[in-house]
Each structure stands twice: as C-alpha cells, then as structure tokens.
C-alpha cells in the first residue's frame, strides 16, 4: 500500500469518528430537550393542581364570616330597638284604635 493510500484511509477513519461524535451530540441534544419537556410538563402539572390559593381563600372566608357576624349583630340591635319602641308606644296606639272603633 502506498503511503498516500494509508493517509487517505486515516482521514476517512477520522471522518467516521467525527460523524459518530456528531451523532452522539445529536442524541445528547435530543435527550436535553426531552428532559426540558418533562420538566415543563411537571411545572404545568404542579400549577394545575396547585393548592396555592387555599390559604388566601381561607383568609377571605374568615373575613366574610366576620362581616356576616357584624351584619347579624346590627340586625339584632335593630330588632331590640323596634321592640323597645313598640313597647313604649303600645298603650297609646291601642287607645287610638279603640277611639277609632268607637268613633262614629
């Protein structure tokens, strides 16, 4: 074999090695993208099933219950005031009704 042919064979082998390396690099790159996609999927799954709002919801629910309690208290005070007024004005009202019934 002449020296030139020997050199040529070495170059071809070198190119084959390079081709293999590039193929390996492509495989690695695909793997990197695959991992990224998996991570992305995980992120979305976490977000979709996130209980992150529960705490703030509980807080708002507590506020709302307090607001309702205040409204109830105000209402009770209103009822007490109404009953008090009616008790105070009752006899006079009955008297007027009787007068009206007897008035001809």
């Amino acid at each position: 074999m002449s020296k030139d042919i020997e050199e040529l064979i070495k170059i071809i082998e070198q190119e084959k090695i390079a081709e293999n390396k590039i193929n390996e690099a492509h495989k690695n790159a695909e793997e990197t993208i695959k991992r990224a996609k998996e991570e992305a999927k995980k992120i979305m799954n976490t977000a979709e099933s996130s209980p992150s709002t529960t705490e703030s919801q509980n807080l708002r629910h507590k506020d709302f219950e307090e607001e309702k309690r205040q409204i109830e208290k105000k209402h009770e005070r209103k009822i007490d005031a109404l009953n008090e007024l009616a008790r105070k004005n009752f006899d006079q009202t009955v008297k007027i009704i009787i007068e009206e019934v007897m008035k001809v």
Binding site: E7, K10, I11, Q14, E15, A18, K21, I22, A25, H26, N28, A29, E30, T32, I33, R35, A36, K37, E39, A40, K41, I43, M44, T46, A47, E48, S50, S52, T53, S56, Q57, R60, H61, F64, E67, K68, I71, E72, H75, K78, I79, A81, L82, N83, L85, A86, K88, N89, F90, Q92, T93, V94, I96, I97, I98, E100, V101, M102, V104
Partner: protein, 209 residues
C-alpha cells in the same frame, strides 16, 4: 493541504458543529422550561381570578339572602306588634262591653245603631244584636229612637232582634231585610284595621329611624 492539516480541519469542524448542536439544544431546552413557567404563572393567576370571582358572587348572593331574611323578620316583628295592638284593643273593647250598664257602652250602641240608620234609606229598621246588647237596646229603646230620629231628621221605627251569630255590636237591616249595615265589633275593627293600617305602624314605631 497536508494530511495532518486535513485531520486538524476535520477535528476542529467536528468540535464546532458539536458545540453548535449543544448550544441550540440548551437554548431550546431553556425556552421550553421558561415558556412553561410563564404558562404556569398565568394559569395560577387565572385560577386565582376565577376563584375570586366565584367567591365574590357567592358572597353577594349570601349577603342578599341574609338581608332579605332579615327584612322578612323585621316585617314579621312589625306585623306581630300590629296584630297584638288590635288584639289588645279588641280585648279592651270587650271588657268595656262586659259592663253593658256603663254610659260609654250605651253611647257607643246608640252611635253605631244611629250610623247604620242614617246611612240607609227608609224609616223602619231591624236591629240585630247578641242577647245582652239586645236586652240593653230594648231597655233604652225610647231614648235611642229619639236620638236617632233627631240625627236622621225624621221619625224612625226600630225593631230589636236577637242574633246569636253576632258577638258584639249590631247589624242594622232595612224593614224588608234587603239592605243591611254591618256595625258589629268585628266589622268595625276590620274597617279601622284597613283604614288606619299604615298609621298604626307609624304610631307603634314612632321615635325610631
């Protein structure tokens, strides 16, 4: 170009191609993760917003129901006092009538008979009432007839009848019984209740807001 130069060229070319492959893959991977993070953030925001809207709607409807129930309760309380006032008035009126000999009752009787007679045509009337009242009317018939004749502006003839269906008060009938004027206590109370309804509420709850 020598063989070693060519080998060097191949190695260098390979390295830079591999670097480029990795760079592109890294970039794409970063973009994929970054994009999913952004999507996740906006998804969370959307969920939060949705829950917020739902809670707001729920809160509004609960408050509306609460206020509606409270208003109903207030109306009921007022209505109960209104009924109690009329029940008490009725009780007191019955107590007054329990003493038929009282001048107040005699005057009341003359007035309610007179009202019926004056409002109806004719000069002959039948006055129906319960036993006690009937006895009292008969006993005082002369005085009552005189007063009523004066009020009507002509002589009237009154005939008194007992009616067990009447509890208190009178029903004035024309002589042919084709017309009548219901002046029983129940009728008078019902009339006052209808006429004074709003005023009674005002009287009971005056001094408030």
């Amino acid at each position: 170009m020598s063989t070693s130069d060519l080998k060097f060229y191949i190695e260098k070319g390979t390295s830079s191609e591999i670097e480029e492959i990795f760079r592109k893959a890294d970039n794409e991977a970063k973009n994929i993760v970054e994009e999913s993070k952004q999507k996740a953030t906006s998804l969370l925001k959307e969920q939060e917003q949705k829950i917020l809207q739902e809670n707001l709607a729920k809160k509004r409807s609960e408050l509306a129901i609460l206020r509606m129930n409270q208003n109903t309760e207030l109306v009921k309380i007022k209505s109960n006092w209104f009924d109690r006032a009329f029940q008490d008035a009725e009780k007191k009126l019955k107590e007054l009538i329990e003493e038929p000999a009282s001048s107040a009752y005699k005057k009341f009787l003359t007035n309610i008979v007179g009202e019926g007679v004056v409002k109806m045509r004719g000069s002959k009337f039948i006055i129906q009432s319960d036993r006690k009242t009937n006895d009292l009317l008969k006993k005082n018939s002369t005085t009552i007839s005189k007063e009523i004749s004066k009020a009507k502006g002509k002589n009237v003839e009154l005939q008194f009848e007992q009616n067990p269906n009447i509890s208190l008060g009178v029903i004035v009938h024309s002589a042919d019984k084709r017309q009548y004027f219901n002046n029983t206590l129940d009728a008078r109370l019902a009339e006052v209740r209808e006429r004074l309804g709003g005023q009674v509420y005002t009287l009971l709850f005056k001094g408030g807001d």
